[in-house]
Symmetry: C2
Subunit: 251 residues, 2 copies
């Protein structure tokens, strides 16, 4: 197995650049950091190209690893590639899934409007995957789903979930064309428990500070609201996504 | 108004130490960072002692500010005190609320077992406050609720919510003595929607990796489970807290 000990090695420099969205878009690759997440990537349909290992880390024999190149690196090189303080000695270079455009022929979707916090975006993808939804649409102004922080917050759900960039007005058009009811989230909506679970739905979730854009709320079939019984104005958007998603999908 | 331009000023050094739990415990003080959070602290029952301001930041006239000392500081001093990159020119020194021990004579509570991520803890306090619960118990191994990251993630809910440290076996004892049903969260529990909303309840939520300790699950009245329809094993703990809290409290 190759050992790389220089942070100036061309492959290391190329992988380091994958911390930037521009390079991920250009190359179609992204980084996955940490033992548990690399294991999840290998189990999923995502193609793992290379696994970078610390010198003292071994790969469990039971991992399915055909077609994957292993590269050992020294601690300074691992640190150069890592975004976390404790990368657990393992970083994988993966191909972004080659997703076809969602057709919206029925199904259950989340439509995200300008959600910027990577932890929230990752938590929302994790919830959508757990709830068995069909897709998460990243509208205008959302962070990149293959950003390292988002990937880590999904705890691997991003390897399974259909995540797609699309202008949200187009996504609403598609839903309307296919009789999928669109629900907005708004302080001026109906209490969510007044709405029955839905076989098909699209749920609009908005920016942490400003919520869903008004032009989108005006195009929804109905707007929902989670009642607040305390002094604070609102819930965290990934918590709100969880409450509404599990309510709308039903048992 | 006093202007402090040295990071070595004794008051600045004393406040800087409030970034550590030990000093917060000793002094009974904590820091609140950012315009919106300081505004929330002033609106609440929490006592704001001092407000540290950047030179170019003014305090809105409508803020209620009797008994608060204002201190202007230069940018390097503000940076020294700030934990975020953009403290919005404002940091307040506040007194930790002088909370009496919860009596558990009925009510709705969250019991947190070894939850360590500050973002999750803050999100849970925010949800508990929004849902109108009576208290959040920080059991063994939880981070400090007055940690800066926790305070920011609560978005101000920590100024209103009754948050208390207590060994969780003691909290369960108190609930049992007062006929408050205790619900655990466990992969081996009942689907949560099979349980009706409850006037009184205590909900046990567990560590991000290992869940609620078995010895506590064995003492609960019933254990609940959020069904997973996808490939991932679990939900984020603050998302799970939101789904279960809003279900158990009911409309």
């Amino acid at each position: 197995m190759e050992l790389i000990s220089s942070t100036q090695n061309p492959r290391i420099k190329a992988w380091k650049k994958l911390q930037k969205k521009k390079e991920r878009d250009k190359s179609g690759l992204f980084l996955v950091e940490g033992y548990h997440l690399v294991e999840e990537a290998l189990k999923s349909e995502v193609t793992v190209k290379e696994i970078v290992l610390a010198e003292d880390v071994d790969v469990p024999q039971e991992w399915s690893i055909t077609g994957v190149e292993f590269i050992r690196v020294t601690p300074p090189v691992l640190k150069e590639l890592a975004e976390t303080e404790t990368p657990q000695g393992m970083i994988a270079v993966c191909e972004k899934p080659d997703l076809e455009n969602l057709l919206f022929e029925g199904g259950q979707y989340l439509l995200l409007d300008e959600i910027q916090d990577p932890g929230n975006l990752g938590g929302i993808i994790r919830t959508a995957e757990a709830a068995g939804l069909d897709g998460v649409i990243f509208g205008e102004g959302c962070a990149d789903p293959y950003n390292g922080k988002v990937v880590r917050a999904t705890q691997g759900a991003v390897f399974y979930m259909h995540v797609q960039h699309m202008p949200l007005h187009d996504a609403v058009d598609r839903c309307r064309d296919n009789q999928i009811p669109v629900f907005g989230t708004s302080l001026h909506g109906s209490t969510f428990t007044a709405i029955a679970p839905q076989e098909h739905f699209a749920l609009l979730l908005g920016n942490e500070g400003t919520g869903v854009r008004r032009a989108l709320l005006e195009r929804s079939d109905q707007n929902l609201y989670i009642p607040i019984y305390g002094n604070c104005e609102s819930l965290n958007v990934s918590v709100a996504a969880g409450i509404l998603t599990y309510h709308l999908r039903g048992d």
